[in-house]
């Protein structure tokens, strides 16, 4: 009969009108500035640089200016200049560091590829989303100081992922130390050579790079093992 479809439709809208007052499955609006919806841990916005300590962020950046992220970045929004000298990192090892590390957030498309390709777990995705600024030119181009955030902050926004990263880094460090020790022991047995310390210093670097060489590829299964 003419009109039944219309009446059915009117019934649905009436149901929703009433439902919006008592049914949270229907009324899903979150009134944003007052109420902020919880972010899932995986949420990503713009990258930040992980530093080991909050007190001395520039001195303890994990980044060694390898420029892999700069090359892989799809919109080419990362700009890195390597240092000429080396500085000790958090573990006390001498490393090259970035003198300039800038990310243009007006270009960045939050794709997370820099995070996946980084062999040193030094760049991660931030979760700060209220980033609007009035400045078109200066404010959107973030430099090293603005990008650096501590490992503690990383733990705060992504607890499970950060714990896993820390565990992996610690294991690698331990393995590297043992390797160095073994090498030193082997060298002690052999007649000493003047060039001995340099490969030992390089080793941990290499060993860290190689398991990550396949990059994020090796990472997800490790995460998947948890559930």
């Amino acid at each position: 009969m003419l009109g039944t479809g219309l009446i059915k439709g009117l019934a649905v809208t009436a149901k929703n009108l009433v439902g919006s007052y008592h049914d949270p499955a229907r009324y899903t609006t979150v009134e944003y500035p007052e109420v902020k919806p919880p972010l899932p841990e995986a949420y990503r916005n713009f990258p930040f640089l992980v530093s080991e300590s909050a007190d001395d962020p520039m001195g303890t950046l994990r980044c060694v200016a390898c420029q892999i992220c700069e090359k892989e970045c799809p919109p080419q929004c990362i700009y890195i200049e390597k240092s000429k000298d080396k500085k000790p990192d958090a573990a006390g090892k001498l490393q090259i560091y970035p003198t300039v590390f800038a990310i243009d957030t007006s270009v960045c498309m939050s794709c997370q590829i820099c995070v996946e390709v980084c062999p040193f777990d030094s760049i991660k995705m931030d979760q700060v989303y209220e980033v609007a600024t009035p400045g078109r030119y200066g404010d959107l181009l973030l430099n090293r100081e603005q990008l650096a955030k501590s490992n503690a902050y990383y733990h705060q926004i992504r607890p499970t992922e950060a714990a896993e990263v820390d565990g992996r880094l610690a294991a690698e460090r331990k393995a590297a130390e043992e390797k160095a020790k073994a090498a030193a022991a082997a060298k002690a047995a052999l007649p000493p050579k003047p060039a001995a310390p340099s490969p030992a210093a390089k080793l941990p670097d290499e060993s860290r790079r190689s398991p990550q060489g396949e990059g994020g590829a090796a990472k997800p299964p490790a995460e998947g093992a948890q559930p």
């Binding site: 080419q76 700009y79 200049e81 030119y137 200066g138 181009l141 090293r144």
Partner: protein, 221 residues
């Protein structure tokens, strides 16, 4: 489904004067293709569409490829007799050869009726400058209409017999063909605060004074 070789033989038997070449594809996908000559392309296409055993009724994908002129350097070892009368020397001789460039149009055909495919057809232009015409397959498959326009627009291939060959993605007054490998983007650069060196240099050229200097300072803490 027939292999590409079988199909080529079938086509050559059906169209004696035609030139049908198999272009083999070394990748694991093993999607080989057939290079057709211009004179018979549309007949062959019609045959592929209408022959009951083939029935390639849908042309799924049409695209162009630009193969620019390549300079191929070949090094050959030649034995040169020593003019001084000594023993002949082996000299590495490099010859440079220019392989002419061309534009290629690729058609991916599928048969919805017989659920088979893809058959990949290729058409090549004579060069990249003045002999850029290939026969249009729009009369055979309607789906080529917009896609051939796109190839015309972005690669500069002219399709003979296309009902409405105009630019499609770029505007009518646009001059170049942006998907060609040697396309130089116009220097209508709009300044953005990117820190990249080459872009920054360009930016400085366009915005010589204040705005370009500022971010450079910003980027270097």
């Amino acid at each position: 489904m027939e292999t590409v070789e079988q199909l080529r033989d079938r086509l050559l038997a059906r169209f004696p004067g035609a030139s049908v070449t198999v272009i083999s594809n070394p990748s694991p996908s093993a999607q080989h293709s057939l290079l057709l000559d211009h004179a018979h392309a549309r007949e062959i296409a019609l045959y592929l569409r209408d022959e009951p055993a083939l029935k390639f009724d849908q042309c799924s994908n049409v695209t162009g490829i630009d193969w620019p002129e390549k300079e191929i350097t070949e090094t050959t070892k030649v034995t040169v007799p020593d003019p001084a009368g000594g023993p002949p020397k082996v000299v590495a001789q490099t010859t440079k050869r220019r392989e002419p460039g061309y534009l290629e149009v690729v058609y991916h055909l599928y048969s919805l009726a017989l659920r088979q495919g893809p058959i990949i057809l290729r058409l090549r232009t004579g060069n990249r400058a003045d002999a850029v015409a290939v026969p249009s397959l729009t009369p055979v498959w309607r789906s080529c209409e917009f896609q051939e326009r796109e190839v015309f627009d972005l690669f500069g291939v002219t399709f003979e017999g296309h009902p409405d060959l105009r630019r499609i993605l770029m505007w009518d007054g646009f001059k170049d063909h942006p998907m060609r490998r040697d396309y130089a983007e116009p220097d209508d650069y709009e300044w953005e605060p990117t820190p990249h060196g080459d872009v920054l240099a360009k930016a400085k050229k366009h915005y010589p004074e204040k705005p370009a200097a500022e971010p450079a300072k910003e980027a270097k803490p």
